[in-house]
Subunit: 314 residues, 2 copies
C-alpha cells in the first residue's frame, strides 16, 4: 500500500471533512464532523484543525495539509483572493495560498473562483472548484458539465481541463424559504417525508416548461391552486414544489445555448442526488454520479501540480 | 345629491373596507379598519359587519349590502363557488350569492373567478373580479389589462367587458420570504427604508431580461454577489431584489404572446403603485392608475345588473 502523502480538508460554512490520501491517490481514512467555519471563533482555526488531524501527523510525519472551501473566505482562516475563470488545475495550483498555521507549520488554501464578465452579474465559488477537479479526474476526460446540488446549486462547464464558466442557482434555499415561510407552508404537512415521485416529476416537467423568468413566480403559486383544486394531495405538494424548482434550474442550465446531453452530479447528500437523477430522467437527460470524496481527489491533484507532495518526498 | 343606494364591502383576509354608495355612483363615505376574515370567529361575521354598517342602515333604511373578497371563501361567511372565466358583469351578477345574515337580513356575496383550462395549472381570484369591473367602468372601454400588485399579484385580461384570463404571481410573498428568511437578509439592513430608484430600476431590467424560468433562481442569487462585489450598496440590495421580481413578473405578463402597450394598476398601497409605475417606465410600458375604490364601483355595477338597487326603489 502506498504511504500517506496528504491531508485534504474540505472546510465549509457548516461542516469540515478531513481525508488522509495516499501517494497513489488511495483515500486511506476520513474524518467528518469537525466544526464548520461559522462555529469556530477567530484564532480557533489552528486548534480546530489540529484536533482532527494531529494523530495522523504524529503517526505519518509532516504531511501536507490542503484546505478548500469557505475556510479561504473573509469569514475563514485567511482571505484568499478569488481566481478569475477560466481556471483549471494548473492555475489553481499556482495560486494556492501558503498560510502559517502555527504549530501545524504551513497549510495550503485553495483559492475560490470568480466570474465577473460584462453583461452578467458576478458569481463565485469556494470549495466547489476542488470538487469539480476531483470529479473531472474520475471522468478521464477534459470536458464536462458538473452540478453540485444544494442550498446554492452550482453548474460548471469544463473545457480542456479548465472551468470556463459557472452559475449559481439559489434553488435549495428558495425552496426552504417558500416551504417554511409563505402561504404554501400552511398547505403542507409539517413532516417533510420521503419524496413523492409522481408529484416531483410533475413539478419537474412544469418547472422546465418554456417560459420567461417571471413565469416561475406564477408556477410557484400554482403549487397552492393545485392543492386547492385537489389535483395534488397535501402530502405531495412539497415534492411538487421541489420538482418545480429543480426542473426550472436544470432546464436553464442544460438547454438553450447551454444544451448538453449529460452531466455529472457531485453529490453532497444521497436524497439530493436521487432527486437530481429523477429530474434528469424526467427531462431525458443523462446524469452520471461522480465518485465520493471529490474534494480529496481534487486536492491531491492540486497538491501534485503545486509540487507539495514531491517536495515532501525529497 | 343622489340618495344612498348600496353598502359595498370589500372583505379580505386581513382587512375590511365598507363604502356607502349613492344611486348615481357617488361614493358617500368610507369605513376601513374592520377585521379581516381571519380575525373573525365563526358566527362572528354578522356582528362584525353590523358593527361597521349598522348606523348607515338605521339612517338610510335597508340598503343592499354587497360583499366581495375572501368573505366568500371556505374560511369566510359562506363558501360561494367560483365562476369559471370568461365572465363579466352579467355572469357575476347572475351568480351573486344571497346569504341570510340574520338581523341584517339578506346580504349579497360576489363569487370569485377560476380558470381551470387544459395545459395550465388552475388559478383563482376572490374580490379582484369586483375591483377589475370597477376599474373597467372608469376606462369607458370594454377591453384592457389590469394588474393588482401585492403579495399575490394578479394580472387580468378583459375583452368585451369580460375577464377572459388571469394569472397570479407570488411576487410580493416571494420577495418577503427571500428578504427575511435567506442568506440575502444578512446583507440587507433591517429597516426597509424608501425604495432606492436606481437599484430598483437595475433590478427591473435584470429581472425582465430574456431567459428561461430557472434563470430567475440564478438572478436572485446575483443579489448576493452584486453586494459582495460592491456593485450595489447594502442599503440598495432590497430595492434591487424587489425590482428583479417585479420586472420578471411584468415582463412575463406583458410580453411574448401577452404583448401589450399599456395596462391599468389597481392600487392597494401607494408605495406599490409607485414601484409598478417605475417598473413600467423602465420597461417602456405605459401604466395608468385606476381610481381609488374600484371595489365599491364594481359592486355598484353588479348591484345594478343584479337588480338589487332597482328592487329597493320599487
Amino acid at each position: 500500500m502506498s504511504p500517506p502523502a496528504l491531508i485534504a480538508v474540505d472546510w465549509g460554512t457548516s461542516s469540515m471533512r478531513a481525508t488522509l490520501v495516499a501517494q497513489d491517490g488511495a483515500l486511506l481514512a476520513h474524518r467528518a464532523g469537525g466544526p464548520g467555519i461559522l462555529a469556530v471563533p477567530a484564532q480557533g482555526f489552528g486548534p480546530a484543525l489540529e484536533a482532527v488531524v494531529a494523530d495522523w501527523r504524529s503517526r505519518h510525519g509532516a504531511l501536507a495539509i490542503v484546505l478548500s472551501g469557505m475556510i479561504g473566505s473573509r469569514q475563514g482562516w485567511a482571505e484568499v483572493p478569488y481566481l478569475p475563470c477560466p481556471a483549471g488545475q494548473a492555475e489553481l495550483a499556482r495560486a494556492i495560498f501558503r498560510h502559517d498555521a502555527g504549530s501545524l507549520g504551513q497549510v495550503y488554501i485553495v483559492p475560490g473562483l470568480s466570474i465577473d464578465a460584462n453583461g452578467r452579474a458576478p458569481d463565485v465559488m469556494r470549495g466547489e472548484e476542488t470538487q469539480i477537479l476531483g470529479a473531472l479526474s474520475a471522468t478521464k476526460s477534459g470536458d464536462g458539465t458538473f452540478v453540485l446540488p444544494g442550498t446554492h446549486s452550482k453548474w460548471a462547464t469544463v473545457k480542456d481541463g479548465r472551468i470556463v464558466t459557472f452559475a449559481t442557482y439559489m434553488t435549495g434555499e428558495v425552496f426552504a424559504a417558500l416551504r417554511d415561510h409563505t402561504i404554501l407552508s400552511r398547505l403542507m404537512p409539517a413532516d417533510h417525508a420521503a419524496i413523492n415521485e409522481p408529484a416531483f416529476k410533475q413539478g419537474v416537467a412544469a418547472g422546465a416548461a418554456e417560459g420567461s423568468p417571471g413565469a416561475l413566480l406564477q408556477r410557484i403559486f400554482s403549487t397552492r391552486t393545485l392543492g386547492l383544486f385537489d389535483k395534488l394531495s397535501a402530502a405531495s405538494l412539497s415534492s411538487y414544489l421541489s420538482g418545480l424548482l429543480i426542473g426550472a434550474e436544470m432546464a436553464a442550465a442544460c438547454s438553450g445555448k447551454n444544451r448538453i446531453g449529460h452531466f455529472h452530479i457531485i453529490a453532497s447528500a444521497p436524497t439530493l442526488t436521487e432527486c437530481y437523477k429523477l429530474a434528469a430522467s424526467t427531462l431525458k437527460l443523462e446524469a452520471r454520479v461522480a465518485p465520493d470524496d471529490c474534494a480529496a481527489r481534487g486536492a491531491l491533484g492540486l497538491a501534485r501540480a503545486a509540487g507539495l507532495i514531491e517536495s515532501l518526498k525529497s
